[in-house]
């Protein structure tokens, strides 16, 4: 569910925007009249809510889906879809800039048409919005209600003046950007993922606060569109969750794009001077200022738990960590479940969808599916991309699991070399002494695509020995997995086995 607050500029009205809104919040929409108790009421029509509602309806449940703003949630409107659309165009411009490295000619006049970039983005949003339109959801047997939902009791929720009674409910209201507590920032005005895609002009100078996934992705994209980008991160490296080598490669890559990087640096104050925004930064006790045209804050997300009447339904929550759920995604109200960003640490579209499936099964069919059983990969779509699945080495060692990492450098992968995409690596972590894959990190131009093979292996319990037996298409970048698996096989060739082999051959 998209939070409507603090969005200074609305999305530009054009044919695509109108087309999209006609589908994801039709102006003439009339909410249905509730008839009897619903098997499932879903609050929030983001990826988790839509998935949960459709799954339940497909299984024959009577389902209501409530959305206060736009169907599709962050993913479609202010998250993955628009960001990946503009990142694609940003890669195109980087490709033109670097044409000479590929034996090409740099076009004479590279002129970034920002309006066209954003128009393409809206066109793509409109197209992808079709699949989850209000009309389609109705056709799928889901009663779609627009309006703010509020629990009125442990088994009822109110929306737009109607009371919906339910046997089970699923809260999937998502999260919104955290409001940074930086003096002067709110008064000066700033961008978040909720309004940055409404920009019609590319900021000449942009300060990005926070070196998390969103900050890094958009810093790189805007830099490639010609913005003079400064990024300030108060940690010693970008993407603090990721492996240090991954973060280092990303840091080098951002620097190559011409981004001014300030690590270990905090934004301490902001004020306006004429049309400029003056930002005071502090690092190692030293203070300095930069003047920019726009500020993008990407410093974390807060769950949407307010104004839902959770107390009335006896649902425990925390303003920071969201709705409290057990491993079966059940809240403190046995009839109410939650899924996605509102209750999970991993705030990703695919995690929201996967958790919603579990919640629906557990809610309606007495399922005993556990959230902790999920293998959730994720990816930061910078160039190169950084993807991860499973355990980090540190997590494994904390659990006293001995780990060995098989590393393949992308510069040793033929297809990465032919593609001129040699930056990065594949690291596969196995339980030492076995071929069991615990986790993996991939840094590569298409790491997000590549990680799926490893997620499959982990999810299906396939070890590195089996991966080594799988014939991988040559030349592909995913061949790096096979190379890592082959390295594992070579470690099995102990001196004793070599001795036996030599004896056998001699005989």
């Amino acid at each position: 569910m998209t939070a409507p607050d603090q969005a200074p500029g609305a999305a530009p009205e054009d044919i695509y925007r109108r087309y999209l809104v006609d589908r994801i919040h039709p102006p003439a929409w009339r909410n249905p009249k509730p008839t009897g108790k619903y098997h499932l009421v879903v609050i929030g029509a983001g990826p988790g809510g839509v998935t949960g509602a459709c799954e339940a309806a497909a299984l024959g449940a009577k389902v209501a889906l409530i959305e206060r703003d736009l169907i599709g949630g962050d993913r479609l409107n202010v998250g993955c879809v628009p960001s990946k659309a503009i990142i694609r165009t940003a890669r195109l411009y980087a490709g033109m800039r670097d044409a000479r490295d590929f034996g090409g000619q740099v076009p004479g006049n590279i002129d970034v048409g920002f309006a066209a970039v954003m128009e393409r983005m809206r066109r793509i949003q409109a197209r992808l919005g079709r699949a989850a339109s209000a009309g389609r959801l109705s056709e799928a047997g889901v009663d779609v209600y627009f309006g703010a939902a509020r629990f009125t009791g442990p088994e009822s929720v109110e929306v737009a003046g109607e009371t919906l009674r339910f046997k089970k409910a699923l809260i999937a209201t998502g999260a919104r950007p955290q409001t940074p507590s930086i003096p002067g920032l709110a008064e000066t005005g700033y961008l978040t993922n909720e309004n940055v895609f409404n920009l019609t002009v590319c900021p000449r100078r942009l300060l990005v606060i926070g070196g998390g996934p969103l900050g890094c992705e958009l810093a790189q994209a805007f830099s490639r569109f010609g913005s003079r980008v400064i990024i300030a991160q108060d940690d010693p490296m970008f993407l603090p969750r990721e492996e240090r080598d991954a973060a280092q490669i990303l840091s080098d890559s951002l620097a190559r794009d011409g981004i001014e990087i300030h690590l270990n640096t905090s934004v301490v104050a902001v004020h306006k001077a004429g049309s400029e925004k003056i930002v005071d930064l502090e690092s190692d006790g030293g203070r300095f200022s930069v003047a920019v045209d726009e500020i993008l804050a990407g410093i974390g997300r807060a769950p949407n738990v307010e104004d839902l009447g959770l107390e009335a339904a006896g649902i425990r929550y925390d303003a920071k960590s969201g709705i409290q759920v057990d491993d079966f995604l059940r809240t403190s109200n046995r009839r109410v479940f939650a899924a996605g960003d509102v209750c999970m640490e991993h705030k990703f579209t695919h995690a929201a969808e996967a958790s919603a499936r579990i919640a629906v099964k557990n809610a309606l069919f007495w399922g005993r599916k556990r959230l902790s059983d999920l293998t959730i990969p994720w990816c930061t779509y910078t160039d190169p991309e950084i993807a991860h699945v499973g355990l980090y080495v540190r997590e494994a060692l904390e659990k006293s699991i001995p780990v060995k990492t098989f590393t393949i450098l992308m510069h040793d992968v033929d297809r990465a070399v032919t593609d001129g995409e040699e930056e990065g690596f594949v690291k596969i972590h196995v339980r030492d002494g076995t071929d069991r894959i615990l986790g993996a990190t991939v840094v590569a131009s298409h790491a997000g695509e590549m990680i799926n093979g490893l997620s499959l292996a982990i999810g299906a319990g396939i070890g590195l020995s089996a991966v080594a037996r799988v014939i991988h298409t040559y030349p592909t970048q995913a061949e790096a997995f096979k190379m890592a698996a082959d390295a594992y096989i070579r470690t099995r060739l102990t001196p004793f086995r070599k001795f036996l082999a030599r004896r056998w051959l001699a005989w």
Binding site: R256, G285, G286, R394, L397, L409
Partner: protein, 443 residues
């Protein structure tokens, strides 16, 4: 375009070609020791960070200087009385200089600022109170206390002063409230914010921190640090990974890790000596593969480490855009790599993989005679960036850390003197045991 023609020999250095290995090493070691004879202030024992004019002192370089004096005596390059005298002057300075939280003190809580004014001994450049650099200084201090064991007033004073300096260090404070040691502290902003995760040169910090009879690090600090380790299979070598070569060498310069193992290494069937050896092989393999096509890389020309570089600039060379770095921690295989080779770190790997290092040294002499003629090795050179000779860009002057590491490691290869002395230091053995090391010479 393939730029690398790495394995060819660009020139010849007849002198080195005729020398025996020992004579060759003697020449390079003597030249490196010469750094300390020339760039130490006899008034206070402070050693310059670099040979460049106006360079401040680096406390770590002082640690290397103190460690060099005993071997200088043993090799006949100094007499014992002079070595003891300069050692005592140095220790006196560090014991008596101002310790306080004021920004221009020499140290605080027993630690010292990374860079000091060569004359006044006060903090310069608003630099940090450095844990690792203080530890390298302490290693030199403690080595002096072991070597100067004679029953005379000067050598007795060395021993007393060294012990006092070590006991004053407040390792507990240096955790900044956490479990593991922090990298440093500044009076202006408190403890440094930098992460110090993964294997690094900090082993000796933990060893000396754990052994302190006065303000020791907690027992679980070493374990907590080793939980950030990554054991990797890279190029078919299995090792505790760290990119820059110096990381595999600094603690090893003083501590003989051969045959002794902590829990992590017991689990992996390895030790830190063997690990450094493997790291050297990975360095060489990286240079052979030379993924970025830098000039000069090859089987006998390798060594990516923290060292001086050409400076931050972008240049197009042979149609390819190259981004050069200044002083930076270069590493394999993830980089950064700007084509700058660290010859000192490569030569300092001698005790661990002499079969790779000796050919590399002879290659350096043959390919870059203009750089190696006086047997002093620069911090870095970069054949990709054109310079006066085939070595391309060559770092100006010399760095004390490089020279110190060279002196100690060549000695460890030749006689094992530093390792032997430090094995006698109770704090080294005690710290290793508290960190969970067993076996080998600890038995």
């Amino acid at each position: 375009m393939v730029e690398a023609a790495p394995e060819s020999v660009a020139g010849t250095d007849p002198e080195s070609a005729r020398e025996t290995d020992d004579a060759l090493l003697d020449r390079f070691q003597a030249a490196a020791v010469g750094y300390f004879l020339k760039h130490v202030n006899p008034e206070n024992g402070l050693a310059a960070d670099t040979s460049r004019p106006g360079s401040p002192a680096s406390i770590a370089v002082v640690g290397f200087a103190l460690s060099s004096y005993p071997l200088g005596v043993e090799r006949g390059w100094m007499n014992r009385a002079d070595a003891a005298a300069i050692s005592l002057v140095t220790l006196d300075f560090f014991w008596n200089s101002r310790q306080s939280d004021q920004p221009d003190a020499t140290g605080h809580k027993g630690f010292y600022y990374h860079f000091l004014d060569m004359k006044t001994g006060r903090r310069v450049w608003q630099c940090e109170l450095s844990l690792i650099d203080t530890t390298l200084l302490l290693a030199g201090v403690l080595e002096a206390s072991v070597y100067f064991n004679a029953d005379n007033p000067v050598e007795a004073a060395i021993r007393a002063c060294a012990d006092a300096i070590y006991r004053r260090v407040d390792w507990q404070w240096a955790r900044g409230g956490g479990v593991t040691a922090r990298q440093g502290w500044k009076p202006e902003s408190g403890f440094l914010h930098y992460g110090w995760e993964g294997y690094s040169e900090a082993s000796i910090v933990y060893v000396l921190g754990l052994a302190s009879p006065t303000h020791k690090l907690p027992d679980d600090s070493f374990k907590a640090w080793t939980e950030t380790y990554q054991w990797e299979n890279i190029y078919d070598y299995e090792l505790l990974y760290a990119g820059p070569l110096f990381i595999h060498l600094f603690s090893q310069a003083w501590i003989d890790f051969a045959g002794i193992r902590d829990r992590f290494m017991r689990e992996k069937g390895c030790d830190y000596f063997e690990n450094t050896r493997r790291a050297v092989y990975v360095q060489r393999e990286y240079a052979r593969r030379n993924p970025h096509g830098f000039k000069g890389y090859g089987k006998d020309s390798w060594g990516l480490t923290a060292n001086d570089g050409p400076g931050y600039e972008i240049k197009t060379i042979n149609g390819r855009e190259r981004r050069f770095l200044g002083y930076a921690a270069r590493g394999v295989p993830y980089g950064p790599d700007d084509g700058t080779i660290g010859p000192c770190a490569a030569l300092a790997s001698l005790p661990f993989a002499p079969e790779l290092v000796l050919p590399a040294l002879r290659h350096l002499c043959a390919a870059y005679p203009e750089m190696t003629r006086d047997a002093k090795l620069p911090s870095g050179f970069n054949p990709t960036l054109p310079g006066a000779g085939p070595a391309g860009w060559v770092s100006e002057g010399y760095y004390g850390l490089d020279q110190g590491l060279l002196v100690l490691m060549i000695e460890n290869y030749r006689s094992g003197l530093i390792w032997k002395l430090m094995r006698q230091c109770p704090y080294i053995g005690g710290g290793l045991r508290r960190a969970g090391f067993t076996g080998g010479w600890l038995s």
